[in-house]
C-alpha cells in the first residue's frame, strides 16, 4: 500500500492574543480527502479545542511533537514560521503559509538558504490575479467595528447631539479600501447600523481618495479637518514615504480616530525602508490594538527617528482577521479545501501552470514560481 500524504499543523507562536488554529472540522475533511493529519500537542487549546475534539475516533488524525510536525509532506500554518524555524522543515516537506514574498525579502532569503519548498497562501491567485485565500472583509469590518466601538463608549447608538453623520476618510481604493467603504458606511457592524437607522441616526458619509488627491497638501488638510475617522488601506509604490506626514495629523479634530488597516510595519533597516502610511502611529497586534493618545505603549513599536509629536487615538493591528478567530479560520478552511484536494494528487514539483483552475492558482504561489517571475521582470 502506498504511503498516505501527511500534513502537519504546528502551533503559531505569536502574541498571546493570537488564538487562531485550523478547526477540527477542517482536519476531518482533510482525512476524507485522504490525508494523514498530524497535530502538534497542545494545538487548538487557545480556542478551547483539545486533541479529542480533533481526533473524534478518526484513525487518520494523530498527535505529534513540535519538531516532528515539520517533517510531514505538507506543513500548514497561517502566519509564517519564525526565521529560526525554517531549518526544522523536512527535506521534502512543503510549507503552506502566509509568506508575503514581495514584502519580506529577508524571509525569502532564509527560505532559499534552507531550500524550502513553499506555497504562499497570499500568493494563491486565480486567472484574474484575485486572491483565493484571503479575508479582506474581516480586515476592514473588524478594524471599523473596533473603531466605532470606541465612539460608542461615550455616544450611545452613535447618534450625536448635533445630528451630524459620521465622516470617514478612506485612503486607498484597493481590495481592503473597497471593503472598508462598506464597513464604514454600516458603522462597522450591521446590527449596530440597523439600530442606528431605527433610531433615526444619520449614518456615515464615506469619502474615498486615491493618489491623485493624497499628494495635495491643502486638499488633504481640508479633508482631514472634517474627518471623524481616517482609515489607511493604501498599498504604496514607495513605502519609505508616509502619505500623511505627522504634522498633518494636527489638523484632525481632537476626537478623531486613526485606523491602520494596511498594517505596514516600521522596518527602517530593510531596503527600501518601510514606514507606516500615517506617520507616527503605533503598530498594534492582537494583544493591543487600541492606543490612546497618552498610551504608555505608544512608542514601543516606533523607531526614534519617526516624528510622533501629533497624536490622535489610533486603532492598529497586524492581524485584523484574528480578532474573531473561529469565524476567521472557518473562512480560511473553506477557501483551502478545494486547493488541498489538488495538493493531495499533486505536489510542489508536479503542479503545472497548465493544470486546472485550482492547480494553476497553486502553481503561481510556489516560491520557485515567484522567483522565476521576479527574475523575468528584472530582465525586462
Amino acid at each position: 500500500m502506498s504511503k498516505k500524504i501527511s500534513i502537519g499543523f504546528p502551533i503559531m507562536r505569536e502574541e498571546p492574543g493570537e488564538k487562531r488554529v485550523f478547526l477540527p472540522d477542517f482536519a476531518k475533511k482533510l482525512t476524507e480527502i485522504g490525508f494523514e493529519v498530524f497535530i502538534e500537542e497542545g494545538y487548538g487549546n487557545s480556542l478551547d479545542f483539545y486533541f479529542d475534539n480533533y481526533k473524534n475516533d478518526n484513525p487518520s488524525i494523530h498527535p505529534l511533537e513540535h519538531e516532528e510536525i515539520f517533517k510531514q509532506d505538507y506543513v500548514l500554518i497561517l502566519r509564517s514560521l519564525h526565521d529560526s524555524e525554517f531549518a526544522l522543515l523536512g527535506k521534502d516537506s512543503c510549507l503552506i503559509s502566509m509568506l508575503h514574498y514581495p514584502t519580506r525579502p529577508l524571509r525569502q532569503k532564509i527560505m532559499r538558504k534552507n531550500n524550502v519548498q513553499a506555497i504562499s497562501l497570499d500568493g494563491i491567485v486565480d486567472d484574474f490575479n484575485v486572491r483565493l485565500v484571503e479575508n479582506m472583509k474581516s480586515v476592514a469590518w473588524n478594524g471599523l467595528e473596533a473603531t466605532y466601538t470606541q465612539f460608542e463608549k461615550y455616544i450611545p447608538n452613535l447618534i450625536r447631539e448635533n445630528g451630524n453623520p459620521w465622516k470617514v476618510l478612506i485612503l486607498g481604493t484597493g481590495m481592503v479600501g473597497k471593503q472598508a467603504m462598506e464597513a464604514a458606511s454600516k458603522l462597522g457592524k450591521k446590527e449596530r447600523n440597523y439600530e442606528h437607522i431605527r433610531l433615526g441616526g444619520p449614518g456615515a458619509i464615506v469619502t474615498n481618495i486615491g493618489r491623485n488627491i493624497t499628494y495635495n497638501k491643502s486638499q488633504m488638510i481640508e479633508l482631514l479637518a472634517e474627518s471623524d475617522i481616517v482609515v489607511d488601506t493604501t498599498q504604496r509604490y514607495d513605502p519609505s514615504k508616509p502619505i500623511i506626514p505627522n504634522e498633518w495629523i494636527a489638523h484632525l479634530p481632537e476626537h478623531a480616530i486613526i485606523v491602520d488597516l494596511s498594517a505596514d510595519p516600521y522596518t527602517l533597516d530593510s531596503n527600501p525602508p518601510v514606514v507606516k502610511g500615517i506617520e507616527g502611529i503605533p503598530h498594534g497586534n492582537l494583544d493591543q490594538f487600541i492606543f490612546e493618545k497618552d498610551d504608555p505603549n505608544w512608542g514601543i513599536t516606533i523607531p526614534q527617528s519617526i516624528p510622533t509629536a501629533n497624536k490622535r487615538k489610533a486603532v492598529s493591528c497586524y492581524s485584523w482577521p484574528g480578532i474573531h478567530p473561529e469565524s476567521c479560520m472557518r473562512h480560511y478552511g473553506q477557501q483551502l479545501l478545494p486547493l488541498m484536494r489538488v495538493l493531495h494528487k499533486k505536489n510542489y514539483h508536479t503542479l503545472s501552470p497548465d493544470g486546472m483552475y485550482f492547480e494553476r492558482a497553486l502553481f503561481r504561489a510556489r516560491l520557485d514560481s515567484y522567483l522565476k517571475r521576479k527574475s523575468g521582470q528584472k530582465k525586462v
Binding site: F128, N208, N216, L223, M356, F358
Partner: protein, 378 residues
C-alpha cells in the same frame, strides 16, 4: 461524450437579438473549450459577427462546430446565451432542456414563473456563487469602468470655467449611492476617471484628482445632508441595490440641487415597471433608461417620453445610462465571461449535464447548485 452516459450533450448558442449595439457572443477559444469537453456545439448563423468574427474564426479552432438556424440553436440540450431571451424565444427551448443565462431570479419573478411553466431547467449566471457568496460570473469592473468612462466624457464638455483639464479647477466631486460590491468597483474606476490614459494625462499635468463620497440608505433619508452633498456634486452615481424598488433614493425634486453641469450615471439600471399594483422606479427618480445604442441622454432626449406617467421627471441633468455596460467593449467583456465560465462548463459537461450535478458536491458543483432554478424556487 460525457462520463455519465453515452449521449453527447449538445449546446446551442443563439445570437442575442436585442438592440443593434449588442454585439457580444462567446469567443472562439471558449467554443473550443466546450468542444474539447465533449459537447456538440451549435452556433446560430452569424454568431460573432457583431465583433467582426467570421464563421471560420470558430470552425478553425473548433472544427466540430455546426452553424444552424436560430430555432435549431434553441433546440439543444443546453442553451447558453448571456442576456435572457425574449418570451417568444424561450418558448423555442425543449421542455427539460437547460437554459444558462443572466436570469436575475430575485428581481424577475414573472420570468421565474414563465420558465417553470415551460418545464425548463436553468442556471442563472448571476447566481453562480462560491462558498463565501461571491459571484463567480460577473463583470462589475466593466460596469463601473465603462460607465465612468462615459460619464467623464460628458463632464469634460459640461464642466464650467476654468475647464475640466485646467490645473486650477477644484477636485472632481463624485457622490456614490450604494456601498456594496458594485459601489466598491465604482470607487476605483472613479478615482481613475474611468480611463487609465486620462488619469495619467491629468496626473502629469497636476490637475486635481477625484474625491468619491459614498452614502448608504441611512443617509439618503436625511434631506438636509443630501442636499448639501448634491449641491457640490459633479457626477452622481447610482450603484445601489435597493431592497424596496418602489421608492427612489433621490426623489426628482432633489435633482434641482445638482449643479447645471452635473452628470448622472446610472449603473444599477433598475427598470421603471408596474407590477401587481405597485409602481417600481429607478434609484434616481425621473432619469431615462439607455442602452448600447444610446447611452448618453441629454435633458431634451426623446427617451424621457418613455418614462411612465407615475414618475416625476421635471428636474433633469445630462444622464449616462446603459442596460448592459459591459457590452460597450464586447470582446474584452466576453473574454472575461468565457474565462470565468470555463471551469463551470467543464464540470457540467463532465458530469453529464444538470442531472449529474450534486449541489452538495465539490466546489464548482456547489456553485452551480446555488444557481439552479429548482434551488431558487425551493
Amino acid at each position: 461524450m460525457n462520463k455519465a452516459n453515452n449521449h453527447k450533450i449538445t449546446i446551442g448558442l443563439p445570437l442575442m437579438h436585442h438592440e443593434q449595439g449588442e454585439k457580444r457572443g462567446f469567443l472562439p477559444d471558449f467554443i473550443y473549450a466546450l468542444e474539447k469537453s465533449g459537447a456538440g456545439v451549435y452556433l446560430e448563423h452569424g454568431y460573432g459577427s457583431g465583433m467582426e468574427l467570421e464563421a471560420s474564426a470558430y470552425s478553425d479552432v473548433a472544427p466540430g462546430v455546426t452553424f444552424v438556424s436560430n430555432d435549431e440553436a434553441y433546440q439543444q440540450d443546453i442553451v447558453l446565451i448571456l442576456r435572457c431571451p425574449s418570451d417568444e424565444d424561450l418558448r423555442k427551448l425543449r421542455p427539460g432542456s437547460c437554459l444558462i443565462s443572466m436570469l436575475h431570479y430575485a428581481t424577475r419573478p414573472e420570468r421565474v414563473k414563465f420558465l417553470r411553466s415551460l418545464g425548463l431547467k436553468s442556471i442563472s449566471l448571476d447566481s453562480i456563487k462560491n462558498d463565501s457568496g461571491s459571484r463567480m460570473i460577473e463583470n462589475f469592473r466593466a460596469v463601473a469602468w465603462n460607465g465612468l468612462e462615459a460619464a467623464f466624457e460628458v463632464l469634460q464638455n459640461t464642466y464650467p470655467d476654468p475647464g475640466f483639464f485646467s490645473p486650477d479647477r477644484q477636485a472632481i466631486q463624485i457622490t456614490l449611492l450604494g456601498a456594496g460590491a458594485l459601489g466598491a468597483y465604482t470607487v476605483k474606476a472613479a478615482v481613475h476617471y474611468g480611463s487609465i490614459p486620462l488619469h495619467e494625462k491629468l496626473a502629469q499635468e497636476n490637475v486635481p484628482g477625484v474625491i468619491v463620497t459614498a452614502v448608504d440608505y441611512d443617509i439618503t433619508n436625511h434631506a438636509r445632508i443630501m442636499r448639501g452633498l448634491l449641491s457640490k456634486t459633479d457626477i452622481l452615481v447610482d450603484a445601489s441595490a435597493r431592497v424596496d424598488s418602489t421608492r427612489p433614493i433621490i426623489p426628482n425634486d432633489w435633482l434641482a440641487y445638482l449643479p447645471a453641469h452635473a452628470v448622472i450615471l446610472d449603473l444599477s439600471v433598475d427598470p421603471y415597471q408596474q407590477k401587481l399594483g405597485k409602481n417600481y422606479t429607478k434609484g434616481i427618480e425621473g432619469i431615462p433608461q439607455g442602452n448600447l445604442d444610446k447611452f448618453v441622454l441629454f435633458p431634451d432626449d426623446p427617451a424621457y417620453a418613455k418614462i411612465p406617467d407615475y414618475v416625476r421627471k421635471e428636474n433633469r441633468r445630462n444622464v449616462v445610462s446603459c442596460y448592459s455596460w459591459p457590452g460597450i467593449h464586447p470582446r474584452e467583456c466576453m473574454q472575461i465571461y468565457g474565462q470565468q465560465l470555463r471551469p463551470i462548463m467543464r464540470i457540467l459537461l463532465n458530469q453529464g449535464g444538470l442531472n449529474g450535478i450534486n449541489p452538495n458536491g465539490r466546489f464548482f458543483e456547489r456553485a452551480i447548485g446555488r444557481a439552479l432554478l429548482s434551488n431558487y424556487v425551493r
